[in-house]
Amino acid sequence: MKLKQLESLLGDLQQFTDPKVELEQYPTGPHIASRMLYTAENSFGDVSDKVVADFGCGCGTLATAAALLGAERVIGIDIDPQSLEIALLNAEELELDIDFVQCDVKMLGWRGRFIDTIVMNPPFGTRKKGADMDFLRLALKVASQAVYSLHKTSTRDHVKKAALRDFDASSAEVLCELRYDVPQLYKFHKKKEVDIAVDLWRFVPKSNQGQRS
């Protein structure tokens, strides 16, 4: 599938109707989501024929992108039932087979090494400090091959240090810097739209270095 085509399909997905500020629910825009998954597939081969999980999937944009790019199985995990309902509709609309689990990612009980790749747009940790790092810690525990994640560029040094030193990643690499459009979703947003700089990261979990299937 071409990048343009992927972006256009993702642009048609239904997004949050009533976003919840405490969960930092911001839709992952089609521009960013398509580039994220396209890079994972075409530069690293981390999507097609793999088991891919989307942590904090919201309305399922990244999960959908993974399924469209030929992931063998896709699992979306989110704490919010309303988002999962929309995600399920989005998947059905495109006739994609995606499994969803309602769970707090922090409390996820996960057995075995089924998940190859995790893609996620975690909460940036602006409202609830450390939420972004909780996601990353868990993702690096569960994934056997790679973790793709978005983090604010302003936290780059912190993310790198935490991933390598605290979460045992064998590599942590910023693939590119992107502009994340945050539309005026919440009352506390004073400007109509702001864009913030975010990094697209690729992490490799240490315990599975070199293990490729």
């Binding site: 399920l88 499994d99 689990v101 707090d104 996960w110 998940i115």
Partner: protein, 123 residues
């Protein structure tokens, strides 16, 4: 919910040691067709907890899988792979509960989505 997902999920209620496998209470099952990939199944075979899969499939009314974990020679059998494929990927729990084996806590499955959320006093 596929039994593949069931094979990964564990209960994390406070005080639980293993929390696996979750017992299944069936209200409604579904069959959903999934593309067959022999290579993918062969890969999964080594990761699946066999006993948990067999018991889950039986609870859902499917008893065609061997009770004891077969050795890897079965991976050459198309007949076996088809049964494995069906049990793991095509058989769905649409409505029902997953039950923590240690505490009995029920996790409801609605529209095929298991709700593993814990209350504050369970964390």
């Amino acid at each position: 919910m596929k039994l593949l997902t069931h094979n990964m999920l564990t209960s994390t209620v406070k005080g639980v040691v293993n929390g696996f496998p979750l017992r299944i209470e069936v209200e409604k099952t579904l069959e959903k067709q999934v593309d067959f990939s022999a290579d993918f199944l062969r890969n999964l075979f080594y990761k699946v907890d066999w006993k948990a899969l067999v018991e889950a499939a039986q609870t859902m009314g499917y008893a065609e899988l061997p009770e004891e974990a077969p050795d890897s020679t079965v991976l050459e059998s198309e007949d076996f792979l088809k049964k494995f494929h069906y049990a793991l990927l095509e058989l769905h729990l649409e409505e029902g509960n997953l039950v923590c084996p240690e505490t009995g806590r029920k996790f409801p499955v609605t529209k095929g989505i298991p709700n593993m959320l814990l209350h504050e006093d369970e964390v």
